[in-house]
Amino acid sequence: MKNSSKKWIKISSVTTAAVFFILILYWQNMKPDVAIIENIPGMDKPSGEIIQKIESIKIGEKFEKLTEETSSLNSAWSAFRGTDRKNIATSTISINENWDAKPPKLVWKAKMGEGHAAPAIWKGIAYILDYDEVKKEDVLRSFNIETGKELWRRSYKVHLKRNHGMSRTVPAVTEKFIVTLGPRGHVMCMERTSGNLLWVIDIEKEYESEIPFWYTGQCPLIDNETAIIATGGKNLLIAVDCNTGKILWQSPNEKKWKMSHSSVMPMIFEDVKMYVYAAVGGLCGIEAEGENAGKILFEITDFSPQVVAPSPVQLDKSRIFITAGYGAGSAVITIKKSDTNFLAKTEKKFTPGAGAASEQQTPVMINGFMYIIMPKDAGAMKNQFICFHPSDCGKAVWSSGKKDRYGLGPYMVINDKFLILNDDGTLTMLKVSDKNFIKITERKLFEGQDAWGPLAFADGYLLLRDSKNLFCFDLK
C-alpha cells in the first residue's frame, strides 16, 4: 500500500473517531424531549403535616338490655374455628342432606355493620362483635339462635372508616367469660350471662401496637380461663387472667414483629404445649404452661409476608403449615427439640401455583389430610378446593376441578361433611374424602356479597354471613 493511502486512512479514521466522540458528547449533554421524573419514595405524601386526632375511647362503656330470654340448647361453637380451633363440629343431631326436597330453612336474619366478623355460640346464644355504622360503635351483640331475638348489647364509641369492611373477629366464649378484640385493638372481657364488664385493654395504646391493614382480624383465645392475645408492639403475646384482668405473662418482642390477621393456635410438639403465632415478621412458638410460660421456644423469619390472614396449622407431630395471600404462597416448617429450646427450620416453600396456599381462610386438617381453597393467583388451581397429604403439600391428592371453584368464603366440617360458603351466598356440601371430590348438594342461600366471615355451627343451626347480614339456617 502506498504511503499516501496509509496517511489518508489514518486521517479519515481519526476524523471519524473525533466526529463520533463529538456526537456522543452532544448526545450526553442534550436534554431529553420529555422530562424524566424519578420514581422515589415519598411522592404520595401530603404537602402538609398529618394531624392525628387523639380519641378518648371508653372501652365497653355502654350496656343495653333488650330481651329477657333463655335457651335450652346445650352445644357450643365457642370461638374462631370452634372450641379446639380445628374447624370441625361433631353433632349428634342428624344433618339434612337432601336440599332439593328440604332446603336449609332460614330461621332468622339480622342486619350487621359492613364487615366479616362472625359469631361464637354458647348454649343457644350467639355472640358477635359488630360495628354500628350509625352510632360509630363497636358493639357486642347476643342473639338467641332459635328465635333470633337480640338479648343485650355492650358497646363503646370508636371511629372507624370503611375499609373493605370494619369488623372481622370472632369472640372467645366460655361458661363464665366472653373476650372480644375490636377492629382497633380494644379488648373487652365480660361475664357471659350478664354482660357485666370485667376488664379492658387498649392494645394500640398500651402495647404501642400497629393495627394491621383493614383492621384487626385476630380472634382471641381463652385457654383455661386465660385470654391469649398477640399484641405485637412492645410485647409479642400476652396472657391475661380472665377473672381479674391481671397480666400473667408477656412475651418479649425484640425483633419488633407486628400484629397480623392470623390467630394464635395452641399446638403440642415433643409433649410441650405452645402457642404458635404467625406475626408480620415471622412465625414463633411460645411456651403455654408452667413457670416458663410466655418464653419464646422458637422463631423463624423465612416466611414473613406483609399480610398474613390464615392461621398456622399443625400438619403432624413435628411440622407446621403456614400460608398467606398476596403472592406469598406457603411454607412447611419443621419443629425439632434442641437441648434447651426448639429449632424451627423451613422444610419447603411453595409459590401459590406450586403448592397448597390460601389467602384468607385457614385450611382444615381431618383424618390426616389437609383441605384448602386455593387463592386467585394459583394459576389453573385458582379457587379450587383441594386435598393434600401433609407429606407433600406440593402435590394435590384431588381437586374440585375447573367447574367447582370457590371464592374467599369460609368452610368447615360437620361430622363427615364439608360445608363451603362461596362469596355470593352459595352453600355447598361435600363428603369428607381423601379419595375424591364428592359433592352432595349445593344451594344459593342468599344474594350475598363478600360472604367471608367464618361459619359457626351448634345444635343443628348454622350461622353464616355476608358483608351486611347475619343469617341463621336450620340444617336439621
Partner: protein
C-alpha cells in the same frame, strides 16, 4: 287569525312535529344500531396482548378504575408488585411500567389511585394484580375516543378469552358493577 288559518297553521305544526319525531327516532335507532368494540371485564384474563396488538402505536385499550368498588387501600395489589419491600412510590415497588397509575395520600388509611390515560398502554399488569389480590376494581376498557373501531379488531383476533365484544354506542363501556346491595 280566522278559523281557516288557525286550522291550517295547526295542521302544519302537527305535521312538522310528527316528521321531526320520526326523524329523531330513526336517528336514535341508527346510532343505537352502530356497534363498537369493548372488553367484557368478567371475561378478560389480563394476558397483556391488548398492549401490543392494537393497530395504533399506543393501544386504545386503557385501564379504568371503578371507585365505588375500591380505590383506597394502602396496600394496593394493582399498584405494588407482590411482596413489595415497602409500600411507597419507589420505582422498585411499582407494578406499572409507565407510571400511569398514580398514588396520592388522602387521609389515614386512604390513598387515591388514578390512571393517567396518556401514559397507560393497556398492559394489564395492574389489572392482574388487582384481580389477584384485590376485588378487581381496576379493569381494561377500550377508550372509544381513541379507538378506530376497525371492522376486524386486531386485538379481538388474538384475545384468548373472547373478551372483546360488540356493544351499541349508547352503552359503549362495560364497567364492573361493584356493590350489588
Amino acid at each position: 287569525m280566522d278559523r281557516r288559518k288557525f286550522l291550517k297553521t295547526g295542521f302544519q305544526a302537527a305535521a312538522f312535529i310528527s316528521i321531526a319525531s320520526v326523524g329523531g327516532y330513526l336517528a336514535h335507532q341508527t346510532l343505537n344500531d352502530e356497534l363498537v368494540w369493548q372488553i367484557d371485564p368478567y371475561k378478560c384474563t389480563q394476558c397483556g396482548r391488548c398492549a401490543d396488538s392494537c393497530v395504533l402505536s399506543q393501544s386504545a385499550v386503557k385501564c379504568v378504575h371503578v371507585y365505588k368498588m375500591c380505590g383506597y387501600c394502602d396496600l394496593c395489589g394493582g399498584y405494588f408488585v407482590p411482596q413489595a419491600k415497602e409500600l411507597n412510590t419507589g420505582a422498585e415497588n411499582q407494578l406499572c411500567p409507565t407510571k400511569a397509575l398514580k398514588r396520592t395520600f388522602v387521609e389515614k388509611p386512604y390513598y387515591k389511585y388514578e390512571i393517567d390515560e396518556a401514559l397507560c398502554i393497556g398492559c394489564a399488569k395492574c389489572v392482574k394484580g388487582c384481580e389477584a389480590f384485590g376485588n378487581g376494581s381496576l379493569h381494561l376498557q377500550v377508550v372509544q375516543s381513541i379507538c378506530k373501531n376497525c371492522n376486524q379488531c386486531s386485538i379481538a383476533k388474538v384475545c384468548p378469552s373472547d373478551a372483546f365484544v360488540r356493544v351499541p354506542t349508547n352503552k359503549a363501556y362495560l364497567l364492573k358493577s361493584g356493590w350489588k346491595g
